[in-house]
Amino acid sequence: MSASTAPVVSPFTNATQPIVEVRNLRTHFPIKKGLLSRTVGYVKAVDGVSFAVEPGKSLGLVGESGCGKTTVGRTLLRLIPATSGEVLYKGENFFQYHGEELRRLRRQMQIIFQDPVSSLNPRMTVGNIVGEPIVVHGIARGKEKDEMVASLLKRVGLDPVYAIRYPHEFSGGQRQRIGIARALALSPDFIVCDEPVSALDVSIQSQVLNLLQDLQQERKIAYLFIAHNLAVVEHFSHDIAVMYLGRIVEKASAKELYANPKHPYTKALLSAVPETNPRPTRQRIVLRGEVPSPANPPTGCAFHPRCGLTRIAAQHANANETIELTIRGESTRVLAKCVNECPPLEQKQGEPGHVAACWVER
């Protein structure tokens, strides 16, 4: 990997050095078929994603199921091998490390999983679950370790006497707290939160979100906050990146993205969140069709088969700039550019750093 694979767009034009920077990350999974398991194609789960997370800040990554947001989180922690691209941790290329040096860096980068049931070993006590990383990384053992575990449990709001209990004795919210305590054990400064509250009850969600926020302020932890619930992400994150079919289609500060969304997919996504108000104020944009398969993505802009914007733009454009398509049995006219060329992530009108990938919207 050479330095020449620079990102298409510098993610955020801020002076502070990002704690984690992802450049042009790609994760392709081979599709194997037949007796000899020949590779017949690739699922491009992540296809050229770049972003940066600043120290002590949260970057929200939203998108629907299958858009590749979870794969991004796992690839950047090297839980899944990357196909290409690089991840810089405080300027060092994380993908080039091996052995002891890799272990050293791994302490700084942790993950909290979505499912608090399957991410905790049912045969281990809570004390062992939280204490394991401390022992593995040779930080402490014996009594000293037990004290660390006790203070971690206390910090996440669990009674330290629970250290001798097993995960099944806890409720979902408490289990998620155990997962958080485990992630905190090595005092990381970057945590990937992969849908940390989507498996929890509404009244428990806010407890866990507040805990994560308090920890961030206390310990200056940066989060990559992966979720499909836009309201949760908007509440939690400083910046938000929206993914569609393996790519980031829009990125801006949380406020800006909500107030001034540019990409037609972001607009539809925002409008689809039901308002907790019986007299709705927002107009709902219902997208037709479903997310296409990442094994066989549409050409050009991956959103063009569902995009309303390119259809209107086509009505105003010259006939030679448009193409007739048949989508789900209906024939429609869209801009040729949207079908032929993939739009780059570029600065749009609005706040500096507000980037979107759309040929039509400026």
């Binding site: 019986p278 709902r284 944009i285 997208l287």
Partner: protein, 380 residues
């Protein structure tokens, strides 16, 4: 006054477990009128799904037992019907769609076979005619190319498509009541919007009543006419959707509304409800919410009649009345029922059965982006 289509009166359901009898449904009363959408809201384990399953008697007995109450549908008490009579109701008069569209479809039969099964069972048609009804029902739920889709297997369809198939199957016999148990929880937001819009459209066309079970307050706000809030196996509040969202009276409902993050709301911290949802095997005494209730804690500061309790490792004072006695679901103000001792109107009100023949007028504004954007200008 219209007769309700479904009247659940003081339903009690128990489960025999090795820790003794637990009661996931206690004294639940719900009235649903024709054409109405009744939402039952609550967190996991509050008894909302058990209530729904009881209507169709889908709970295996034992371990489940119907300990009391009535479920009157169209003049018949469903709890008194035998299994054969019940089979005539299920799928025909009352249909149900489930949360998980993958596990509720049979993977070894085609979509067509599965819709046909319901159609031939209830409509006295067979063969080609049944096939046509199946095709029509797929067309009604907006599935493109229904003829070809009838031949596909569930695994060939996406989550949203499968949920459409479930709805098609449920509606193929034109039920009077549809029970939708978390119909969109497993789906993405944009697909959720499609499915909810579809249900609203089908309800307007057929005039069926819907019982919508969900934990998502946004889905409730958008789709319900009347809302029943359940907590710890009981209904703690019931009102029309506007009344409930404008003036929540029960401290649980109030706290729930505050703890949900909302789009475009800048507040830095979310309000929380302390503690966790109680386990039906170990309910606290008195009002089941007193261990988490901010209202009783606040009032206990100033009251002489307070007791100290320990819950979730925390020690605090609550009012004696909240621990001693479980409040009934009283009609605290006109057409608004709530179960809380500490409401000023509670003492003078009566524990009546909530009846609200109400259908709201608002139709959610939907657009397909084109009309929204038409006003904007497009340069070359």
């Amino acid at each position: 006054m219209r007769q309700p289509l479904l009247e659940i009166q003081n339903l009690n359901v128990g489960f025999e477990t090795n820790r003794g009898l637990v009661q996931p449904v206690r004294d639940v009363s719900i009235n649903v009128y024709p054409g109405q959408t009744m939402a039952i809201v609550g967190e996991s384990g509050c008894g909302k799904s058990v209530t729904a399953m009881s209507i169709l008697q889908l709970l295996p007995t034992p371990p489940a037992q119907y300990l009391g109450g009535k479920i009157v549908f169209d003049g018949r008490d469903l709890l008194k019907l035998n299994e054969r009579q019940m089979r005539g109701v299920r799928g025909k008069d009352i249909a149900m769609i489930f949360q998980e569209p993958m596990t509720s479809l049979n993977p070894v039969y085609t979509i067509g076979d599965q819709i046909m099964e319901a159609v031939t069972l209830h409509q006295n048609v067979r063969g080609k005619q049944a096939w046509e009804i199946a095709e029509q029902s797929l067309r009604e739920v907006g599935i493109a190319d229904p003829k070809r889709r009838l031949e596909s297997y569930p695994h060939e369809l996406s989550g949203g498509m499968r949920q459409r198939v479930m709805i098609a199957m449920a509606l193929s016999c034109k039920p009077k009541l549809l029970i939708a148990d978390e119909p969109t929880t497993a789906l993405d937001v944009t697909i959720q919007a499609q499915i909810l819009e579809l249900l609203r459209k089908l309800q307007a066309e057929t005039g069926m009543a819907i019982i919508l079970i969900t934990h998502d307050l946004g889905v409730v706000a958008e789709n319900a006419d009347v809302v029943s809030v359940m907590y710890a196996s009981r209904i703690v509040e019931c009102a029309t959707v506007e009344e409930l969202f404008d003036h929540p009276r029960h401290p649980y409902t109030e706290a729930l509304f505050k703890s949900v993050p909302q789009l475009g709301n800048d507040s830095h911290r979310l309000a929380t409800i302390s503690g966790s949802v109680p386990n039906p095997a170990k309910f606290p005494p008195g009002c089941k919410f007193h261990t988490r209730c901010p209202r009783t804690r606040e009032l206990a500061q100033k009251s002489g009649d307070a007791v100290e309790i320990v819950s979730d490792g925390e020690r605090f004072k609550v009012l004696h009345a909240c621990v001693a006695d479980e409040p009934a679901t009283n009609e605290v103000t006109r057409n608004h029922w709530a179960a809380c001792h500490q409401l000023p109107e509670y003492a003078g009100s009566q524990p009546t059965i909530p009846r609200l023949d109400y259908k709201r007028q608002v139709v959610t504004t939907t657009t397909d982006l084109q009309s929204t954007l038409r006003s904007q200008e497009f340069g070359k």
